[in-house]
C-alpha cells in the first residue's frame, strides 16, 4: 500500500516541480527566481524522502537533510547578493 502512496506522491511532487520551474522561467524579478529555486530545493527534499520510502534505502533521508542545509545556505547567499547589489 505504501508503494502506491509513494507513486501518487511522486506524481503530485512532479506537478509541483513543473509549476515551480514555470515560475523560475517567467519570474519578473531576481527575487522571484531565488524564491523559485528555494522551493525547488524544498520539493527535492520531499522527493528524495519519498524515494527513500519507495526503494527501502533509508540512507537517502540523510541526503534529504543535507539538501535542506544546502538550500538554506544558498538562499541566504542569494539574499545577501540581492542586498549588496542594491536597486537595479
Amino acid at each position: 500500500m505504501i508503494e502506491i502512496a509513494a507513486n501518487i506522491a511522486f506524481a503530485i511532487l512532479g506537478l509541483g516541480l513543473l509549476a515551480t520551474v514555470v515560475r523560475v522561467i517567467l519570474g519578473p524579478t531576481l527575487a522571484d527566481r531565488i524564491l523559485g529555486l528555494d522551493t525547488l530545493t524544498t520539493l527535492g527534499i520531499g522527493l528524495i524522502a519519498v524515494f527513500a520510502v519507495r526503494s527501502g534505502f533509508y540512507l537517502y533521508v540523510d541526503i534529504a537533510v543535507a539538501l535542506a542545509l544546502l538550500g538554506f545556505i544558498s538562499t541566504v547567499a542569494f539574499a545577501r547578493y540581492l542586498l549588496s547589489r542594491g536597486s537595479p
Binding site: 515560475r23 524564491l35 519519498v50 534529504a64
Partner: protein
Amino acid sequence: MSYVATILILIGSIFSALAALGILRFPDLYTRLHAAAKAGPLGAGLILLGAGAASGDLLTFLRCLFGLVFLIFVSPVSAHLLARAALKSGDAPVNTTSINEYRDSK
C-alpha cells in the same frame, strides 16, 4: 504504523504541490513567499516524518525528526531574509497591499 506513514506522505506531498501552485498563481513576491514558506516545514517536513514512520527504525526516525526541526527553524529565517532583501532593493508590493510598515517607518 504503515497507515500513519502513508497518510503523512500524502498530506505532505499535497501541501508541497499547493505551495507550488501558490508560487505560480500569486501576484507578487511577498504573497508568493507566504505560500513558499509553508512548503518547507509542512510539505517536506511531513514527508520526512512519514518516511521516518515508514522505516520503523528509531535512529532513522530521529534523523527525520532532526530534519523536521531544522526546517521549522530555518524556513522563516530564509523567508524573512529574502523579503527584506527584495524590499530594500526596491521590489514594490502589488497595488492591493494596503499595509507597508517598512515604507511608513522611513
